[in-house]
């Protein structure tokens, strides 16, 4: 039986605040890595495929999406431009948009599961979040190009295509409002992300993200993250805005 439970929205908001970009939260019964110790071990078979032979990325996934030095591709570094460094040095956690129930953008994930859904006609992939604000990303796989002048949005405009067994998602049109994590890493509207999703075995989704933002970073860098499958879990309801009392308690 799945062991995860969320006692209160406020509690969950606190979790999100106290959570650095990639460390699992210790309290609230979630326990990140520790909490899932109660799930039965699933043997890792090969990645499943759809009827047409394409890889099936669908499922409830946990983890991945951390932008920080831990998952950096060997040889890469996050080199902050002076304005970006100033932001990192002066930002306060109480101002993290995530704490105010605003979207986490791309690719930041809260320590709650998320679901990949592929449409039957293969023209859309949706990423549904349990955590953050119960929102979603949509990835267009119908071959369309990015608009020349996209409206800046929290999740950007994402187009996807398959390269072999890897889904490559190209996104532009971001606003400059979300943080990459509790590490306060910023971005500008120049942000361009390239994500590569590969289901290396039935239980593992390799998720590499290249961050290319000449407004914040001297050079692009890539993080190699990994999500694991939660075969017995469903997404639960999480209404961030309801009873979000902790926001007022965070002092810095």
């Amino acid at each position: 039986m799945s062991a995860r439970w969320i006692t209160s929205i406020a509690g969950a908001a606190v979790l999100a605040i106290l959570l650095p970009a990639h460390t699992p939260v210790a309290a609230q019964g979630r326990g990140g890595r520790g909490g899932r110790g109660q799930a039965p071990a699933t043997p890792a078979g090969p990645a499943p495929r759809l009827a047409n032979g394409m890889p099936d990325l669908s499922g409830v996934w946990m983890g991945g999406g951390g932008v920080g030095e831990r998952d950096l591709k060997p040889g890469d570094a996050i080199v902050l431009l002076p304005d970006a460094k100033k932001l990192v040095d002066t930002r306060q956690l109480k101002d993290d948009p995530e704490a105010h129930c605003l979207p986490t953008g791309v690719p930041r994930m809260n320590p709650y599961p998320w679901r990949m859904v592929q449409s039957i006609d293969q023209k859309y992939i949706f990423v549904l979040f349990e955590g953050n604000i119960h929102s979603y990303r949509q990835i267009f796989l119908d071959g369309r190009k990015h608009p020349d002048d996209p409206d800046p949005t929290w999740y950007g405009h994402s187009t996807g295509k398959w390269e072999g067994d890897t889904l490559v998602v190209d996104t532009v049109g971001y606003n400059d409002k979300f943080w990459f994590g509790a590490n306060k890493l910023p971005h500008t509207t120049k942000l361009h992300t390239i994500e590569r999703f590969t289901r290396s075995d039935a239980n593992t989704l390799q998720w590499d993200i290249t961050i290319d933002d000449p407004g914040s970073y001297a050079k692009p860098f890539t993080v190699r993250t990994r999500a694991h499958l939660e075969p017995t879990w469903e997404l639960m309801e999480y209404i961030c805005q309801e009873n979000n009392t902790n926001v007022g308690h965070i002092v810095q």
Partner: protein, 373 residues
């Protein structure tokens, strides 16, 4: 081992009485394997010391065991001995190895040149039946630490305790001291009435094994090499060792690896089976660390001209201070970079490189296997 001797050895097994009686704790197939390995060469007359003990003294190298895999390759299954065809291949491989050693240029010249005999074991591990060191217990796995690999690993190194006892020139432990590695595989046995003394070339540990019937020291006294008591069973010296600390390890080369518990008991059997050959068997029993007891058996030979050379471990041993200072330099470098707005991964001391700064095949990022958020 020549075919005639093997035939005698097999005949000895079939003929029921082994050269030396074995402890009742050995299971049947272990008994048979051990007995076959301990069977003396045809025509070999066991020399005795002045006071009438079998004479196992001399200089004995485990170079003899080079090329015998420690863990049994899957293709042999539960077979402890090679077939004739397989043995012929092994003999050829051993000859090639010896020639390479003799013709090598540089620091490793002649290191393999002392492997002058071939053996029919499929693996050094002869118990359990599958020829594999048993798995660690869950409790044992809780003991994993940076020091298990020490300088052969990625650290981080913050204190001398993050290195292995081999790094620190303290000891390689009983099993680590006898298992062959690249060099330094010499052992010297000296006997006196009431004692057998075993000295290891690398890193010059010496054990005194009392054979005068005295009992073990108090359990409150713990030693890296334990406390050894020996007795003779026929021509076999049986050594029982207890009183271990929990600081050494059996596992990896040079005694590196996950540590055993202080409850470990080791039983060794040494038989001289030819004028230039000993058979050495070590049985490890530590239920807190290994799910089953296991036995390793290896030949030790005395090729003409082989000597123990001084291994002055600590002379020029700057590895510890260099590794520790490199870590502290990296601390500073990370701080400097952070001030400049550069966020990057910490560089480890080893950088996943092997000796001579060569990349280790199959290893790119030491953090490749990290978990999720």
């Amino acid at each position: 081992m020549n075919p005639r001797r093997l035939a005698i050895a097999i005949a000895a097994v079939i003929g029921v009485t082994a050269a030396s009686p074995l402890s009742a704790q050995q299971n049947d197939s272990l008994k048979a394997i051990s007995s076959q390995l301990m069977t003396p060469a045809k025509g070999f007359v066991q020399p005795k010391t002045e006071w009438g003990e079998p004479d196992i003294s001399g200089v004995w190298t485990s170079d003899a065991a080079l090329g015998i895999p420690r863990e049994r390759p899957a293709k042999y299954g539960h077979r402890a001995f090679l077939s004739d065809d397989e043995f012929a291949e092994v003999q050829k491989a051993d000859t090639d190895r010896r020639k390479r050693g003799e013709n090598a240029v540089g620091a490793f010249r002649n290191d393999d040149a002392w492997k002058t005999k071939s053996f029919r074991q499929t693996s050094l591990v002869i118990e359990p039946e599958d020829g594999h060191t048993p798995a660690f217990t869950p409790d044992a796995l809780k003991r994993t630490a940076t020091r298990d690999r020490g300088s052969f690993g990625e650290g981080p190194f913050n204190t001398p305790l993050d290195f292995t006892l081999y790094d620190r020139c303290i000891t390689r432990g009983i099993v680590g001291s006898i298992m062959p590695v690249v060099y330094g595989n010499g052992n010297r046995i000296v006997q006196a009435p009431g004692q057998v003394v075993l000295s290891y070339e690398m890193i010059h540990d010496t054990r005194v094994i009392y054979t005068d019937g005295r009992s073990h020291v108090s359990p409150n006294i713990r030693q890296y090499l334990g406390d050894s008591r020996g007795h003779w069973e026929g021509n076999t010296l049986v050594i029982e060792t207890t009183n271990f600390t929990d600081q050494t390890s059996i596992g990896g080369g040079n005694g590196n690896g996950l540590r055993h518990s202080s409850d470990m008991k080791i039983t060794e059997r040494i038989t001289r089976i030819d004028k230039d050959e000993l058979r050495y068997e070590v049985h490890v029993d530590d239920a807190k660390t290994y799910t089953k007891p296991f036995t390793i058996s290896l030949p030790l030979t005395s090729p003409p001209g082989y000597e123990l050379l001084p291994y002055e471990c600590h002379e020029g041993n700057y590895m510890l201070p260099h590794s520790l200072s490199a870590e502290r330099e990296e601390d500073k470098a990370l701080e400097e970079d952070a001030k400049k707005g550069i966020i990057r991964k910490r560089k480890s001391v080893q950088q996943n490189l092997d000796a001579g700064a060569r990349p280790i095949p199959g290893r790119t990022n030491p953090n490749d296997d990290i978990d999720t958020n």
